[in-house]
Amino acid sequence: MKSRHLLFLIGVALLSLAIGIMVGPVSLSPGELWDAIKSSGGEAAPIIRQIRVPRVLLAFLVGGGLAVSGAALQALIRNPLADPYLLGLSGGAGLGAVIAIAAGFGGAWTVPLMAFAGAMLALALVYRLSLVQGRRLDPRVLILAGVIVSAFTGALMSAIMALSDASALRNAFLWLLGGFSGASWPTLGFFVLYALIPLVLLMASARALDLLALGDDSARHLGLDVGKARLIVYLSTGLLTAAAVATCGIIGFVGLVVPHAARRLLGPLHRPLLPAVFLAGGAFLVLADALARTAARPLELPVGVVTAVVGVPLFALLLRRTLT
């Protein structure tokens, strides 16, 4: 049962990667595609090798990472509305990006780096606020701390926007809306560097997440070090999300809905759930990005728009079918 689902999802993931590489604003015939993959000399080779392949791989890893983060946070906070941006990270990243641009050093490298720094700062702030009585990480306080940090960074962002050159900041917001236009091998490397360890840690926390979902007391009775497990999950999701924001802005919806969809199909146990969520999230984002690149070519749609427009009806359908 379980391995059949997993095999199916691996198939879907591979298919999505193939589709992602085959389609784009430039139409290529299967022959040209094959030539580009075989040798680096042809006309289409740089498009495939330098642009599409890193972009599709990045979209897959980001989608998988966000979906796993969402699933883990939903268990950690015991709140079905949790998504990777709930804990103030998007606000911190946005503030970092806006500061970089408003201060006049908004370049292709500095904006993502400042966004990453802002997200990490927000992560640390929310963490500090949530340490009840200096020791325990309380999930209820965590969610509140996330909300107030978001509100605060949002207000600072609005203040900076009101006081500086509007056109550059409008473009900053376009970047924050999310997209993979900056994808390249170095960006992919950056994301893997920061995302690999958190991803492995989260996968390894599957049993801890099952226990956390039962409630603190039950988890403790079953032998879990609740504080340590929470800390690992919180820092891993935070780092993963910050890396995602820095490479491609804020892409909503993947981290919220993919875990719910997977739970409806596979049940709540995290050991089978997390790998499935990773594959499904990755495939979903690759396909959404393929649509974002091609729907209005040569213009690009923000990929977050596509994830919501395609994902909401799909999820609504799934909700109706599995509720009965």
């Binding site: 604003p25 330098q50 642009i51 236009s181 390249s184 040569p298 213009l299 690009e300």
Partner: protein, 262 residues
């Protein structure tokens, strides 16, 4: 009649004008009405004399209070739905407003005529227009099949260009270039590096004055014009708004396009 098709009537030529766009400020100075300008936006940077006029802040969603404090008898607004509330408030206070869409080369003449009439300087406006038309015609490079294709990159992350019918696109075409994305109707749009590669731009026009940072990014190395650093830099305000300086801007750009090809 202004660009909202409203008719403006003034008892006498305007003598205290608040101009809420850099283009209209420059235009007022060009027709000799500079002495009547008593307020400007913080973006109005040309001519140098405009800097001596007090600033009232932003031109889009302006501070009505700051505008009224200048005791204007005419306020020139940029045509944008965001400026409607300010226009209505000013009209309720009995202050005349004129709304101008000054985004493109061909809108310039009409705007000059309106401001000429409202300031009692129709003669100056007409002779300025006549001179400009002559110089524009002289500066414009005839369209050629061999014209270099120019990617007009107004932002790099995400990459944004402008389509046909925007001011900078018109300037590029008149300077003997072809807008790489002339097929886009949108005045600005996000494009992918991939579609840039496939269209093989001869040159890339950027609005910075130094080598752009994105030129070092890996994904841009797929574009030959980036690898070979074929950038044209334009950063003077003459390239971002219609003005009497358009012919010089065209000639300057034409010279650089020509130099880049040789």
């Amino acid at each position: 009649m202004d660009d909202l098709a409203d008719t403006i009537r003034l008892p006498r030529p305007a003598s205290r004008i608040v101009s809420l766009s850099p283009a209209s400020t420059e235009l007022l100075f060009a027709i000799g009405a500079g002495a009547s300008v008593v307020g400007r936006t913080r973006w109005c940077d040309y001519p140098a004399a405009a800097a001596e006029v007090p600033s009232v802040g932003d031109g889009i969603q302006p501070s009505v209070e700051a505008v009224v404090a200048r005791k204007p008898d005419l306020v020139v607004l940029y045509k944008s739905a965001q400026n409607d509330p300010a226009r209505q408030q000013l009209n309720r206070l009995g202050i005349a407003t004129v709304v101008l869409a000054l985004d493109r080369i061909e809108e310039f003449e009409h705007a000059a005529q309106i401001l000429g009439t409202l300031t009692g300087r129709t003669g100056d406006a007409d002779s300025m227009i006549a001179g400009l038309q002559r110089r524009l015609a002289a500066a414009t490079v005839p369209a050629a099949v061999s014209a270099p294709t120019v990617l007009i990159l107004v932002w790099d992350q995400p990459p944004m260009t402008i389509g046909q019918g925007s001011f900078l696109s018109d300037i590029v075409e008149r300077a003997g270039g072809r807008n790489l994305f002339a097929d886009l109707a949108a005045s600005a749009g996000v494009i992918s590096v991939e579609s840039v590669v496939a269209r093989h731009p001869d040159l890339i026009l950027v609005t910075s004055d130094s080598a752009p940072a994105f030129a070092r990014r890996a994904e841009w190395q797929t574009v030959a014009a980036v690898r070979q650093s074929r950038f044209v830099h334009v950063n003077s305000s003459a390239f971002n708004r219609p003005s009497p300086r358009m012919p010089e801007a065209i000639t300057e750009l034409a010279g650089r396009l020509k130099a880049m090809r040789e």
